[in-house]
């Protein structure tokens, strides 16, 4: 069936074959990034003052005996040279074994599985919310005249300059303590998601909105819009068909970056709203010198991140035909 299709449409095969090396390169890139991320984290976290053997034995300040420390060091291979430990870790990583968390007495995979969903849900919903808010703002301020442009850009700048923790507490005070509309801390269900999502989405939408408007303005002044106008297309048509599409390119390019900042923001938001998630796990793991969990979470985030960037690159190629010619 496939062969028949190809036979019928020879021009499409050329196009298809370009996807394969692209995909292979991508895959190789993913493996490389995972390796590099694990390596950097492994060595970086060992530079931090504090003894991982202590982290295993009930955390800092526990009055553990020399015998117990030695026992733990031997059991976890912490008495071996650092490079050997690294090779051992890598060996287990290759077969998908992320080890056990020192502090949580649980497998790293288990901890990640428990927390990944919450963070991804939060990040994705926030990303969508931020894009919609940004798009609305950018469209309104591009088309609404001078006043709209000034107010719109002011709103964007203010939104982008608000720290997450301050916004979170202000939203809690407004919507929960004062108005009583929403729960102040995370509860199951969509209602509990509203404030955390707003906290993450508002500053991000300020950012996305700026970039989108820049591109929209560029597009509205560009030759192809002029020619479209010359063809007699209406101003709305021009805007929705061309400017919007043009604005989408940098915005999509930013999606990967935005996802990264959302994960960073999640550390703060998950702490304030008491949502279980990777951000919070990461913070406490770093503070407790929980080496396997830190690396595990970083790898988890890296994987999720690369999934998002691969998808956005794909979207980029679809929206911006120029990039399809570029084999990189």
């Amino acid at each position: 069936m496939a062969a028949a299709l190809i036979g019928e449409a020879p021009p499409r095969t050329r196009k298809r074959r370009r996807w394969l090396p692209w995909l292979l390169l991508r895959l190789g890139g993913v493996v490389f990034v995972l390796w590099a991320v694990a390596t950097v984290t492994f060595f970086a976290i060992r530079l931090i003052p504090g003894d991982p053997a202590e982290a295993i034995l009930g955390g800092p300040g526990s009055q553990t005996s020399a015998a117990a420390l030695a026992q733990v060091r031997a059991a976890y291979g912490l008495d071996q040279p650092l490079f050997l430990q690294y090779l051992h870790y890598l060996g287990r990583l290759v077969v998908g074994d992320l080890g056990r968390s020192y502090a949580l007495h649980d497998s790293v995979i288990g901890v990640i599985a428990q927390n990944l969903g919450g963070t991804l849900l939060l990040a994705v919903v926030s990303l969508i919310a931020a894009s919609l808010i940004a798009l609305a703002l950018a469209a309104w301020s591009t088309r609404g005249g001078r006043a709209a442009a000034s107010i719109g850009s002011l709103l964007e700048v203010v939104a982008a300059a608000v720290p997450h923790f301050w916004l979170a507490i202000s939203l809690i005070l407004l919507f929960s303590s004062f108005l009583g509309w929403l729960p102040p801390v995370s509860v199951p269900g969509p209602l509990g998601l509203v404030l955390p999502v707003l906290t993450l989405a508002l500053p991000l939408s300020g950012f996305l909105g700026q970039v989108m408007r820049e591109s929209m303005l560029d597009a509205m002044a560009s030759p192809f819009v002029l020619s479209a106008r010359a063809r007699g297309e209406s101003e709305s048509e021009v805007f929705w068909l061309h400017a919007l599409r043009h604005a989408a390119i940098p915005a999509i390019g930013l999606a990967g970056w935005a996802f990264g900042t959302l994960i960073s923001g999640a550390v703060v938001v998950e702490t304030i709203f008491a949502r279980p998630g990777l951000g919070r796990s990461l913070l406490s793991a770093v503070q407790q010198r929980d080496v396997p969990l830190v690396i595990g979470v970083v790898i988890g985030v890296a994987l999720a991140y690369m999934l998002v960037t691969t998808l956005t690159d794909l979207a980029d190629r679809i929206v911006d035909p120029r990039l399809r010619e570029d084999a990189r």
Binding site: V40, A44, L254, G256, I263
Partner: protein, 267 residues
Amino acid sequence: MRRFRPVEVFAIVVIALLVIAAVVPGALAPGDPLAIHPLESFRPPSFAHLFGTDESGRDIYTRIVHGTGASLLIGLTATAIGVGLALVFGLLAGLGPRWLDFGTTRFLEVLFAFPGLLLALLFIVIYGPGVVTSTIAVGLATAPGYARIIRSQVLVVRRAPYLEAATVLGRSRTSRIIHHLLPNVSGSLFVLVTLGIGQSIVWASSLSYLGLGAVPPAAEWGAMLSAGRTYITSFWWMTFFPGLFIVLSAVVATMLGRSLQQRLRSS
């Protein structure tokens, strides 16, 4: 040359005031930002204390004025580190030969794959908290984001007709970068940098919230904001005014960037 618009005048005045506050804070606020008056703590804004007092009875207005230098320095330096690194990597990736692009892109991808806050977190936990470490940490953490934007802009611009025309006309590589690429990339770069200054202060304050920022009793806006967070339900002014100044500096920086950009475009 066009006349100055009111927003531009406003931006310039505020920036001038901020610069004065950063260089000679004593001129705007003669008091001592560290002087404590425990028995005058948590006073709301009044004529005696324009922005109220904090938990140790220190005058918040004086602390904000004296904290301008440190805060702007964090913002400027972190953004400079971030954008500087990003410019190098972004241009290498966007302009260099294929293998260089490949290498730099992979390197950037590794940096990207780290959540920015983790980079900052690790850096600070290793080197200890303080203004210098958190500034570098914020710069490092934000660099990949800028780099990515720059690279994608370079890729888009490189395919633009005028650059192809320059290549056809036989302009040298450097000349193409300087005369065509940079001005075109600079549009988004300006927006990024101006936003980045405020953003870096915000980042630094988030680090303070997590207990990794400026060391007390330094009067730094981000640290003040995060110190006031505990009292946000009872004493709003402790977070409102530092927050206002973070936002204000970000806003005027952006305004200035915008109008510069427009002038560049029209000239």
